[in-house]
Amino acid sequence: MKRIWLLSLALVLVLSAFALGQEIANPDTIVRIEYGTINTLDPAYSYDTSSGAVIFNIMENLIMWPAGVVDADETDLSYSLATADLLPMLATVTPSVDNGLIVTYPDGSLIYQFPIRKGVKFHEGGSLTPEDVEYTFERGMLQDRDGGPQWMLIEPLSGSKYGRLYQWVNDVLGIDTKKGTLIEDLTPEQQTKFYNEAIDPLVEVTTTGDVVFHLAAPYPPFLTILAHAGNWGAILDKEWVIEQGGWDGAADNWAAWYNPGGGQAAEASELYDVINGTGPYMLGHWDPGVEVVYERFDGYWREPAAIKTVVNKKIQEWSARLLLFGRGDADICSVDPQYLPQVMGQPGIVTTLNLPTLGLNPAGFFTSDLAMEGNDLVGSGKWAEDGIPSEFFNDVHLRKAFAYSFEYETYIDEVLGVAGGYRTHGPVPKAFGWAYDDDPAIYYSFDIEKATAEMKLAHDGKVWETGFTFTLLYNEGNQGRKVIAEILEKNIESMNPKFHIDVRGVPWASYLDRMVTEQMPLFVIGWLADFPDPHNFVIPFANSTGTFSGWQGKTLVAMFAEKYDPLISAAMATSVQAERAVIYKQIEHISYDDCYDLWLPQVNGYRVQRDWVQGYAFNPIFPDVYYYSVYKAYE
């Protein structure tokens, strides 16, 4: 409470201290203050937004997304997430069926051909060649670190047969690498065989200097995976990587660079703290957890950037961020939704609300067939008022009763506050308008009567008769998840005095432990887009082996395998968007009927910047600010 008073005091003080039309501070420098941790600069290793943001500004991909602009004077949302609108970047043309650069063969395999731009220089002096492109993707897939992003290339390039390199190695060599732990022991002959048979044919340089990707089967979002915003598609300078101690491109020794540091120590990658791209900014300086500085690259192949230096400071404490931003010593500031009222309407600060987002964060997941051993979240573990049995959430009526018990509108108004939000109804985010069925009939809404009716039907009336007790966990520090649990607790308990829900906060470590071991009756977590396609969401949410759906217990997993997996595969078997849209809409409808998740409201996107920051490019798939187009001026 003391802190709130202090912050209010700060607000008043800051308000009174500054006036409109303040002189532009540091006109050739952008200072950004935020709080993410950059883990690595290796584009093949990085799989977090903060690291991706650095690579996004320093390195470039073959193709890029069209962006809108959000700045003091305009909000232009003419960005695109459509494959057809992708623009060339290090390629000179975006492949399409129409221009003949995407060709489908009678056996169902495809090629994507990219003519490579000439005269492009890397920051360290090398020139871009088609061989650099081939090397980049081969190096990435062969590195395939645990928990890394390479599944996005391995999956399409293997014809969706594999998600991890070791599975591919096992198949080609006919051995068991024990989930990759024995890959480092492969003989040079085995490595050569695998490389020559599996990896080398996937990305090739043609005699005309183009780069061709070979896909064994259609993978409609393939171009979106390669596009700028995904660091896994950022092009490296082969010679420079070799100079840093990286893989030399030989067929017989790649295993030495496989899964560096077991995927958990970023330093083990030779590119952990060095970076060399073709982008508008070079790395000036990186002090992990403290700051990263970009310097303009004057040899950039397009017009050099307007801003000379970008300083990205990591400041955890909100009050320090607020003061630096309020005084104009920072130009762009990360603001959590609850702090938005403190910056909105302040002189010299522009806040743009209601921007589209690409994620499902949060979403609630019901767990069927709960693990009971040592599980203190299920009370007595039996059908009784003091516990729940393992099969508690196996019943769809019970899941629906919970879905009807959540106050969606109240959550948007009271919790999401001034940022605002919108309802969702299935595993496809609303931003994919072409695949999203906005039919009001498939949204659950707060209705305690319907909830009661469903509760009475659940488990043939047993739930209503005996009552129950279980614990809903949230990870400490996540206020949103706490409120979600409390809303459910209040409304469920109001139905029947025999219904009891305990809400408890635990550290993230315990939360993760309970989630992975399938002990939590209902867990809340979120997913942000890797690439803008519904496939990137239906897999974690509705596939039998999905990241989250795979933890929802055997009954729900069996349901995913029977009903959802075939639909998900069918949506990937065609590149015709209209056909895919029909399938995704079908998935949304059956998701409503099966009610396997609690589809929670999503917060709207927003931007907060000083009024002299112009040219702030916007596309919801961007991991962060793209500084190339940013400049400082009053217009």
Partner: protein, 343 residues
Amino acid sequence: MLAYIIRRLLILPVVVLGCIILVFAVMQLLSPYERLSIYCSNPAELKNIDFDVLIERYGLNDPIYSQFADWFWKVMHGELGWSQSAARPVMGAFMRFMPVSAELALWSALPIILGGIWLGSLSAVKHNKPIDHITRIFAITGWSLPTFVAGLLGLFLFYGILGWFPPGQLGLGASAIVRSSQFVSYTGIITLDAVLNWNWYVFGDAVRHLFLPVFTLAYVSWAMLLRVMRASMLETLRQDYVTTARAKGLEERVVIKKHARRNALIPAVTIAGVTVAFLFNGLVITETIFDFHGLGRWAARAAQTFDLPALLGYLLFNGVLIVFANLIVDVMYAYIDPRVRLE
């Protein structure tokens, strides 16, 4: 004296080992999955992490003695491991964050100790006079204010309104100089490096940024030392030998400086030693509010995320620090109090 110091230093490994074993024992209360959480802070990364492979790789299901032996063997070979919370090796994180905390500690120690001792003895000498009351009120308010309140108030007033003392270690211009090839970083302690580089612009900017955190620390830390010193001084001033000194006709200044204060210092030295040790091992709140990337912030984050390699490295440092701080205090006793002989 030398034998005593050597004997005390020999205890060092035992103390450190005790701490480490304790942490290992406590960590066994967590499940292997919980201890893996540090590697899975991003939901997307959960996609293709095989938890069982990781548990086996890190030996998290091995017996505690085996895990301890493994860690100990690596430490003996100079490997402290990787700190996920700092996104760098433990030793690298330590080398980066230690000078920041040390700079804050060095600049804060002098005002805290000298100011506390001076104000405490002044308060005692002017017992129940206005200066005593003012000093006591000053001490009580400092003691009562949580660091984050004092820090935030200072920041709002002196930076938010007046713009004098910004948060962070350096401004944009000085940062650019420190990052440039002309500036040699000898110690990582910016003010010291600035002097060694003969760069007074950087020195001035660093001092400007240090002023508020140092003042905040001094203000909230003075109370303890001041009150102990005051009480001790009052006690000493009532001793017979002080009365005798006065009866001999010695000047009051000499009585206080030579006879009273020196004896009153003994309890204050203990407090000062502990205070300095605490300053050096990092100040979570001060470092967070004023955006100093020091040991305290790192350790707090490591603890929140169960970053075991970081915690063990921090513990090693802390054990050594506390043993040395106590040793220095003991040596100081011998210097201040002729009755104490270290043998």
